[in-house]
């Protein structure tokens, strides 16, 4: 049986070498992985091993435009990455392990990762021994095409560094893998800053915000100061926002004036009001009227569904974008502003000729970090002229749109993960 296994491994590898891309990267966007049945760890349960490998693959998927899915049914030749444990001469591999100490694992370009079963690997919950998660992330990095990187903080250092509290892929490792595979791009459903008022220990009211990107059924919190998403994102919308639709949110609006402080979510022809105290959508208002409601009822003169919307604190209007038009809604008079709708291109003209999103926006986002309005469409954004811009260049029309830029070049590493890894 051992000889038979060697043959399979050899033929499988030979076949792959013929099909494999000539360069050092996978050309596919979805990679399949599998734990080798004959190569389970003798120290960790199969469940623990699988749990660790899922986290490891997710950590890479969170920073690069590739997805990983465990596949235990397809023919072996269609599995891109195989992981297994062995000691000494193992799994038909030509590179022998050396027993406990020194070499703990190795990876082959075409996707086999072997862990030395003589080493004392541990699951994330246990800090003694060698973290299987950290080693797995390192070896997957090799399989993806990274070499060793002699830089403090890099996951690709050749030597095992006992892990501090929680290791993550730092900026340079992210850029290293993105040099090979490109950065993550793609349209968002909505983007917004969620502002909350809190009382500090001195009783003073402080205002805090977090930035969120929504897409389909999941979302990321974006840490502006760290130029990355929150570690571990994306997560499902339903796990973080209660009572609103579980996917494909069209818009979020925060009406914030001296007298109003209201949060709305829009999807299709309906809208929900969100209760930030209890972190869930209101089911009804103080008069007993239920949510969700028709947009046309709550915002007379505004037809749903909408593409995007934002609240302008200067004019105290909500601007709703629908196809090529923009509607304005006066929150104090509670009705649509006369002589709207207008064409988006007329209210938000292009600073550079023809460089304009035109119609069907994805999101309209006022950023407190950048103090500017951004219109999103596809992989790009257009920044609107701000008051600050007009101070330096009064010739710029208000709300005019600067030329498009790639979203991924201002908000970094916002990457999908495979649906099978959304929930660990």
């Amino acid at each position: 049986s051992k000889r038979f296994l060697d043959q399979i491994m050899f033929l499988d590898k030979y076949k792959k070498e013929q099909e494999a891309p000539r360069g050092k990267v996978f050309s596919k966007k979805l990679l399949k992985w599998r734990m080798i049945g004959e190569g389970y760890s003798s120290q960790l349960s199969v469940t623990e091993q699988r749990y660790v490998f899922r986290i490891a693959f997710r950590m890479w998927s969170e920073v690069m435009p590739l997805d990983f899915e465990e596949d235990n049914t397809s023919p072996l030749s269609q599995v891109d990455i195989k992981l297994g444990f062995g000691r000494g001469r193992h799994l038909g591999c030509s590179r022998e392990f050396d027993g406990s100490g020194q070499e703990f694992a190795h990876a082959w370009f075409l996707g086999d990762i072997h862990f030395d079963d003589d080493e004392h690997f541990t699951a994330p919950s246990n800090d003694n021994g060698i973290s299987l998660l950290k080693v797995a992330v390192h070896e997957i990095g090799h399989v993806l095409g990274l070499s060793h990187i002699h830089r403090t903080g890099s996951i690709m250092q050749p030597n095992y560094i006992p892990q501090e509290s929680g290791f993550e892929l730092d900026w340079s490792d992210r850029k290293a893998i993105q040099n090979l595979y490109g950065s993550c791009e793609g349209p968002f459903d909505t983007v917004f800053d969620f502002v909350r008022k809190e009382r500090n220990q001195y009783g003073e009211t402080t205002v805090r915000y977090n930035t969120y990107f929504f897409r389909n059924g999941w979302y990321w919190m974006y840490e502006n100061r760290n130029n990355r998403t929150r570690y571990g994102d994306p997560i499902t919308i339903s796990s973080g926002w209660h009572g609103i639709p579980a996917e494909k949110i069209d818009a979020f609006v925060h009406v914030w004036t001296w007298t109003k402080d209201i949060y709305y979510f829009f999807k299709g022809t309906l809208y929900w009001r969100y209760d930030t105290e209890n972190d869930k959508a209101f089911s009804e208002d103080s008069q007993g009227k239920t949510y969700p409601r028709l947009i046309s009822q709550g915002f007379p003169g505004i037809p749903g569904p909408i593409d995007a919307a934002y609240f302008d604190r200067r004019t105290q209007r909500i601007y709703f974008f629908k196809d090529s038009q923009v509607f304005a809604f006066d929150v104090n008079r509670n009705h649509a502003v006369p002589n709207f709708p207008k064409k988006i291109v007329d209210v938000f003209p292009a600073v550079a000729r023809n460089n304009h999103p035109g119609t069907n926006l994805d999101a309209a986002y006022y950023s407190y970090s950048h103090k500017a309005l951004f219109l999103f469409k596809g992989k790009h954004f257009w920044r609107a002229v701000s008051d600050q811009d007009r101070q330096t260049n009064p010739a710029l029309p208000l709300n005019a749109l600067f030329p498009q830029q790639a979203i991924s070049e201002q908000w970094f590493d916002i990457c999908n993960v495979h649906s099978s890894l959304l929930k660990l």
């Binding site: 003589d118 060793h148 805090r208 915000y209």
Partner: protein
């Protein structure tokens, strides 16, 4: 000794596990440097033929170039060895002595990945200047909530 053990004794060194051969001397250091790509296919002749076979066995993929007839200089004075050692010391932030000192031996014996080191990546792009700066002048002091150190997953 520790006052208590882990209930599953996972902290007790299992005795039946084979221990890796550590780097202790010139020959083992030479094996290490060659195995992990610090020295291209260099075959440093050693008077003891058994070691030669030993070398060949461990590195079937590295062609053994016979260093026929010529006696190599005193092992640690071998220029190839010294050059490889210096490269290893430099990249591992050790004092570059070119000598097989304790610090170097310790570094060689640290747990490591089995993939050779001889491919070194170019300089990685530095973080761009576009990190946001929190304006202090804003009338309503709005701060970005940050989570601090990475939480354990």
């Amino acid at each position: 000794e520790k006052l208590f053990h882990m209930r599953d004794h996972s902290d007790i060194e299992p005795s039946n596990i084979q221990q890796a051969q550590l780097v202790t001397d010139f020959v083992s250091a030479q094996l290490f440097l060659s195995k992990y790509g610090w020295a291209e296919n260099v075959m440093w002749e050693d008077t003891n033929t058994k070691d030669n076979e030993h070398l060949q066995d461990i590195h079937p993929m590295e062609e053994a170039t016979a260093n026929s007839g010529k006696r190599s200089p005193e092992p640690t004075k071998n220029p190839h060895f010294i050059e490889a050692l210096k490269k290893f010391q430099k990249l591992n932030n050790l004092k570059v002595t070119g000598r097989l000192d304790d610090a170097t031996i310790t570094a060689m014996n640290r747990p490591r990945c089995g993939v050779p080191d001889n491919q070194v990546l170019k300089n990685i792009q530095e973080r761009p200047s576009k990190t946001e700066n929190m304006s202090k002048t804003n009338s309503t002091k709005i701060t970005n909530q940050v989570d601090g150190a990475p939480k354990k997953r």
